[in-house]
Amino acid sequence: MARYIAKRLGLALITLVLLSMIVFGASQLLPGDLGRSVLGRDATAEAVAEYNHEHGTDRSVVVQYLDWAGGVARGDLGRSLVPPEQPVWDVLRPALLNSLKLAIFAFCLVVPFGILGGVLSGLRAGKATDRTITVVGLSLAVVPEFVTGLVLILALSIWAGWFPVSAQWDPGSGPLTQVEHLTLPAIALTLVLFGYVARITRAGVIEAMDADYTRTAYLKGLPRKTVIRRHVLRNALLPTIAVIGTQVGYLLGGLVAIELLFNYQGIGLTVLDAAKLRDYTVLGAGVLIIGFTYVMVTLVGDIISALLNPRVRFSGSE
């Protein structure tokens, strides 16, 4: 088991280093140089050269990468390129906190509903209930979040008047007001993720229903309810919860359009604004943090799955 965890950690580390190279590489795709791109076409050559020297972009790519990566490893993300040139971390921290609130809320909604849908569908595999849940779930999963979000705003906010249109609450609002503002975007994200969680749960339930221990439990004369509660669900749900963790990456991507639609200053909107303003330090750091979160959550999910699975737990390596 220790070897498995060590191996996964090593792979995650390699992934993160490659990720940082990709993010850095993307900022080098820019035609021309940074000074010209920031200062504009009309700037003099001297001004551009001075800007590049000041920001260190006149050095070789390798030196720049090592400098940047070293800074990131020490927790120094540099400064924003857009006036007032705030430290990147000061821009990203409040945004991350906002996104975290939204993501946690969405997860609190999607996990119970998704699991409920998956269990219903798994227990009636192949029947009409199963087909309906599967088709509706997967259809909702492919509709872009902003489309779902728009329909929700129109129906529940503008026509019914139940929720505020914008997700951004007034400064100093209490937790209840914040929840009220976040409900619509959280529902939009939930609808998109519901199909995935339900599908994973369904597969787990079907596998457990087919297992020998379930057959034994039935043959022992236990009532169906007890078999399902004690044998099927207990075995099906734990691995499911670990697998659900891997959907976090998807959630992070969905935040961009949702945060724009609901005008909510989270990490997605911040990255989007940085891309529009060509603020490469904020953009790069934001993308790196999103990737880092994804890799870490997947790692934890994999390790939990492994811990729950005796075949992996006792086999030493993979």
Binding site: L11, L16, Q28, L252, G253, L260
Partner: protein, 289 residues
């Protein structure tokens, strides 16, 4: 597809193929999805010939009017007929999404064949890079690349989406190739002295076609999703394209008083992605039975 014909095997395979096709065209979700897709393709091809008004520049004096018999879906704040714009709005996305999917399938299949067939260092390296790329959500990656390239042309969007999808397809193909590579026919081809590219593309590829086909139809759904989302956030198609997501991006701030300029394009997007999903789901059901 070896040169030496094997009549018995060939006919058995073609019977199986015909059987699959029969199952496919009988499935209600395939029929429903296919009909919706054909409808939007027809709209894309016929374009301005079937729209009651010019979708791009028609400045009728009626600005921002609600749906009526005159304007089924109302008009937007420039006086353009929303019904005409919804009908015309399928063209760009139906061009870009399939092109991006096709490109991604070609690149992804090649990568997957190479990594799955050779294993070893090439496989390890490419797989690690793919892992790293997959750690960034599609939209975030696309936004980064578009921002870095500084160009928002249609081709940029196609290439970005293809670049993001090809590693995902490569992963599926690799898994399929790994399970084929140990089979006897591959060994036989190698012993015959065939070169690796021949074995990969002429022997292995035809046998891993079903998962590639399934993956491609799934990716097509996501490509539409991605093009729409990119256009909505301002990094995809640009005005004055009557594209649905561009219309939504243009008008969603006015949602509370001109809801028709947003709701109808939104429903159009939903109908197209759900239709593609229904088709890919039924293809999957048939091919994987």
């Amino acid at each position: 597809m070896s040169v030496v014909a094997q009549p018995a095997v060939r006919s058995e395979a073609s019977v199986a193929r015909r059987e699959r096709w029969r199952l496919l065209v009988r499935s209600p979700s395939f029929i429903l999805g296919g009909t919706i897709i054909l409808f939007w393709i027809a709209c894309a091809i016929l374009g301005n010939h079937i729209t009651p008004y010019d979708p791009r520049f028609d400045q009728t004096p009626e600005i921002g009017v609600a749906p009526s018999w005159q304007h089924l879906f109302g008009t937007d704040r420039l006086g353009r007929d929303v019904f005409s714009r919804v009908l015309a709005g399928s063209r760009d996305i139906l061009l870009i999404a399939p092109l991006a999917t096709l490109l991604a399938t070609l690149v992804g299949t090649t990568l997957g064949l190479i990594t799955g067939y050779f294993k070893g260092i090439a496989d390890d390296t490419i797989s690690r890079v793919i892992d790293a790329l997959l750690a960034i959500p599609l939209i975030v990656l696309a936004v980064t690349v578009v921002a870095a390239l500084g160009s928002r042309s249609t081709w940029t969007v196609i290439i970005v989406i293809a670049a993001v999808f090809s590693p995902i397809i490569a992963r599926t193909v690799r898994a399929a190739v790994l399970s084929e590579a140990d089979l006897d026919y591959v060994e036989a081809a190698r012993l015959r002295g065939e070169r690796s590219p021949y074995v990969m593309f002429s022997e292995v590829l035809p046998n891993v076609m079903p998962p590639i086909l399934v993956e491609a139809t799934i990716r097509l759904g996501y490509a539409i999703f991605a093009v729409a989302t990119l256009s909505f956030i301002g990094f995809g198609l640009q005005p004055p394209s009557p594209d649905w997501a561009v219309q939504i991006a243009d008008n969603y701030q006015d949602l509370s008083f001109e809801w028709w300029t947003v709701l109808f394009p939104a429903l159009a997007i939903a109908s197209l992605v759900v239709a593609v999903n229904l088709v890919s789901d039924s293809v999957q059901q048939v091919l994987e039975r």
